[in-house]
């Protein structure tokens, strides 16, 4: 890439944000990024779209990956975000490898629950694997998603996160060009 971030910053980031907004307002809904112009071999296309749309100098980023240095350099180059080794300090976390527990990230303060980490977890599949039934604000009755390559005890971790409401972390699951958003309000009921 010969430029930093999106080439057409205004319109490409608006398009990407519109999809992220849709996904977050309708948890469990799979949205697809049509913009495949930007890629990095260790990151999914949807992760790159989110990074270019939401990250900048004001967001601390934590990275957990086998290619930590490469991703870290990519993010520093394209967004200017400071990289942190401290999970609690992070506004965004990008997880490409390994297990994780949500507890160690920032779940905000009682009076400022918005000061919490948004975790981007790259997973292997959104069409096959384990089934989960979601419920919560933004979902009409319930919503079923199928995931593979997620953290261990995913259901327990999501439900313990949502039981802390209004505190808690918010999660973006990314796979290739697709995104599923799981705000802290969401419970896995089955």
């Amino acid at each position: 890439m010969e430029h930093v971030g999106f080439k057409n910053k205004t319109f490409e980031s608006q398009e990407a944000f519109h999809l992220i907004l849709q996904a977050t307002a309708n948890p469990g809904k799979k949205v697809k990024f049509m913009n495949h112009n930007y890629s990095q071999e260790d990151l999914h296309i949807s992760s790159v779209n989110i990074i270019f749309t939401l990250l900048d100098l004001d967001t601390n980023v934590f990275i957990q990956s086998a290619q930590e240095n490469i991703i870290s350099n990519f993010i520093k180059l394209h967004t200017g975000s400071p990289i942190t080794k401290n999970k609690v300090e992070s506004d965004f976390a990008i997880i490409t490898h390994g297990d994780l527990d949500f507890e160690s990230f920032n779940d905000g303060l009682d009076q400022y629950p918005d000061k919490s980490t948004t975790i981007i977890i790259q997973i292997q599949s959104m069409s096959e694997g384990e089934d989960f039934v979601l419920s919560g604000p933004g979902i009409k009755n319930s919503n079923q998603i199928t995931l593979r390559g997620i953290p261990h005890n995913f259901k327990e971790k999501i439900n313990s996160n949502s039981s802390k409401f209004p505190r808690g972390v918010d999660i973006f699951l990314t796979c290739n060009d697709e995104l599923i958003s799981l705000p802290r309000t969401i419970k896995i009921i089955n």
């Binding site: 398009e15 907004l21 309708n26 303060l109 009076q111 933004g138 802290r184």
Partner: protein, 276 residues
């Protein structure tokens, strides 16, 4: 589009900051997220918060509708529409069904909104507890610890003084069974429309620098008591123009003798009703 401005007026860094705030606001329904509100080219109180939210979400394919007290053709609505035409060159409409984004000052359209629409409210005072507790640090604590007795006492006192809750606009609601939220000064007539609304609702308060949100399909309950259930306004009259008996009616004085008529506050609804 006029030269010398970024698309949608705000610079990209500001939009990014507001976008992050909007996402957090959706994740915590009803919670007032602080954001770095910018100065806009119009006075506080004229919708600077709503405009910043709209500017951060709007794209070239969006169709914008702006209403002020339900009307498409009032000063505030027209000038905001002209503003976005100037800085975005987007389509605007008066048709509630055709709009993808509806920015509103103090009304929710009568027509049921759909999943692919976003309703943006202009909010003067986002804090429902402000009149009961002037300190921001204190109201934050009250929200944090779900300590809402003050509000219930206030409603109780109104009932004991006047026989019913006399608040007819900005009637407090409970969002997702947690945060007490100010529905912006919409008439309480509109409160039931917020409950499990299919459209995403975003609230922008420019002067107070707060954004909050209610996702689609979210429980929004007006505060009440078992023996004094919440009730919306009703009228004996019908709309003088379209004859509707189920929309929110504005009372207008028509001559010096004080004679009055009632007309629909939602002009687009009234127009469509007249045609059918």
């Amino acid at each position: 589009m006029i030269d010398g401005f970024n698309f949608a007026y705000l610079d990209e860094a500001t939009k990014r900051m507001i976008r992050r705030t909007i996402l957090k606001a959706i994740c915590i329904p009803g919670y007032q997220c602080p954001f770095g509100g910018r100065e806009m080219p119009l006075a506080y109180g004229w919708g600077t918060g709503g405009i910043q939210v709209t500017a951060s979400i709007i794209g070239i394919n969006d169709t914008l509708k702006v209403i002020d007290q339900g009307a498409d053709d009032t000063t505030n609505a027209i000038s905001i529409k002209n503003f976005f035409k100037k800085v975005c060159k987007i389509e605007t409409t008066e048709d509630t069904e055709k709009a993808t984004i509806i920015q509103t000052r103090h009304r929710i359209p009568e027509k049921k909104l759909s999943e692919n629409q976003i309703l943006v409210y202009q909010v003067p005072q986002p804090e429902p507890l402000r009149r009961l507790e002037p300190k921001e640090q204190e109201t934050r604590k009250l929200h944090a610890y779900e300590e809402y007795a003050l509000m219930h006492v206030k409603l109780y006192e109104e009932i004991s003084h006047f026989g019913s809750v006399i608040k007819t606009y900005a009637y407090p609601v409970r969002t997702n069974k947690r945060y007490i939220t100010d529905p912006s000064p919409t008439p309480k007539f509109d409160n039931p429309k917020m409950d499990f609304m299919e459209a995403l609702q975003l609230f922008g308060a420019g002067r107070e620098r707060r954004i909050y949100a209610i996702p689609p399909y979210t429980s929004v309950q007006s505060l009440d008591f078992e023996d004094h259930p919440f009730q919306i306004q009703t009228w004996d009259e019908r709309c003088d123009i379209c004859g509707s008996n189920n929309s929110y009616l504005d009372e207008i004085i028509i001559n010096d003798k004080g004679e009055k008529k009632f007309i629909c506050s939602d002009t687009n609804y009234c127009e469509k009703n007249l045609k059918t």
